[in-house]
Subunit: 308 residues, 2 copies
Amino acid sequence: MKTPSLIGLDWGTSVLRAYLLGEGGAVLASRSENWGIMHVPGGDFPAAYDAMTLAWREKWPGLPALSSGMVGSAQGWRHAPYCPCPSGVNDLAQAMVQVSLSDNCLLHIVPGLLLSGAVPDVIRGEETQIFGAMMSVPELAEDALFILPGSHSKWAVVRREKIVDFKTYMTGELFAALCEHTILGRPAREADAGKSTSEAFERGVCAIRDGGARGLSALLFSTRSLVLTQQLDAGDSLEYLSGLLIGEEIRCALPAGAPHLALIGARALCERYQRALVLFGSPTPRLVEDTAAKGLWEIARISGLLGV
Amino acid sequence: MKTPSLIGLDWGTSVLRAYLLGEGGAVLASRSENWGIMHVPGGDFPAAYDAMTLAWREKWPGLPALSSGMVGSAQGWRHAPYCPCPSGVNDLAQAMVQVSLSDNCLLHIVPGLLLSGAVPDVIRGEETQIFGAMMSVPELAEDALFILPGSHSKWAVVRREKIVDFKTYMTGELFAALCEHTILGRPAREADAGKSTSEAFERGVCAIRDGGARGLSALLFSTRSLVLTQQLDAGDSLEYLSGLLIGEEIRCALPAGAPHLALIGARALCERYQRALVLFGSPTPRLVEDTAAKGLWEIARISGLLGV
């Protein structure tokens, strides 16, 4: 194995990912556990950190360590107050906080960003992924719109290497709540599994696209009424609902004449967004993967943690 | 007690209400149980019906009986296929179905309405309340917009004594799912109970009103971000969320230059809608209560069940 230079962590709400990183942010090894900050065993952050990284730290003593994500929230291990938006990678590097570890090493924690105003917004973890994507695809650093689909989807505008604006859409969490805890999920639960079709997803997207300014609220119940009137198979109804919700996110968020458009995240979900974006007339957005490790590397490099 | 002429039931998804009705639909007695069609003890509709009405039927044998609501759905006691929209009270009266009871009497069941089209919609129970409101306030029968707030809010257009259009908004069910099963409910659950203010509700309504065509999707996360940035008390956050959701329903549903506007339903919820509608520039809508019994009476009268 090449010599590692950094331990990087992406420690979110539900998952903890640890990377052993070499030159340029190359991932030499990685581990993942469902130890997001709400699910750390016994709430013991130091123990979880040791379980993930101790073998690496014993083999390569003194490796610098850096984490992004919700671990720096008020509910995390150590509170890293938000940087104001706009901010660039230098601003993040200067605002990191530290946790002292039992072996006299430090874990550095990257802060999130706060967008102030009448409708404030916050981001914590995705900023590091965005800076990682800018490392992977340098032309995105000048003027781009990044979409990070998920439980809380983020749309972030980058200009001249700074995140200048962003907005959160609760699409994934809303989908889960609607499926599991409203009448809309029932037909699919009772139908044969695995019978859904991608046409139903696209039908939902197009219903929103063609539905005008009233948006989702006027169409949500159609997930049920189309099944009741035999115009939609019960097994397809959650694909249709997914299309409505992702379509609504795009209806609200996609600007006219979008700049470079990039999707960051898991491939299957990003491809779903790609299909929906194209239905809205967008050029096929670029898909950028594995951005957290690259972003952690870049922040560590800028902040002098790598000692080079 | 005056002589009763009709047993009327409003048998919905969650509640079963039974009325003993006298001349003109006057309520002589009433009972209510949480025996909606999804919660009938043992799934035994005849037993539930007997428990609610047998004392009345033994005292006044041969009383006609009529029910509206989800009891006529495919999941109910006897399926009463939908009438097409538009329909008037005569159409409903002619499309009733019957259940034979152990005492050789019949229970008549009022069908709901189906709005056909690319975005179909259904109503079952509310049509009877609307016809009841038209009995109570005759000027509403010519040209009015009825709002029935609830788990599934209905907005129905009446012209010349017929329901000519309607639409369902899942506002109440969405509010419950968001409060109980997403991150938006957490701050309020952890805050002191009973500390919420009506200003927070109005703030949510106004945020939607002033937010343009992007609507709720662009504002939902502000329920959290305003608390995180100390711009909204945690104890107020569900009032704010309620304002967002009711505001979004009104943004989508309220036509320019609305005709007579009437609210049907429980007083506290209707007053909440009244406040929100006024913030949207609407004249204060009229509030009509106890409309189910009146509507059942009218349908029974038209269909000849009353024998007069």
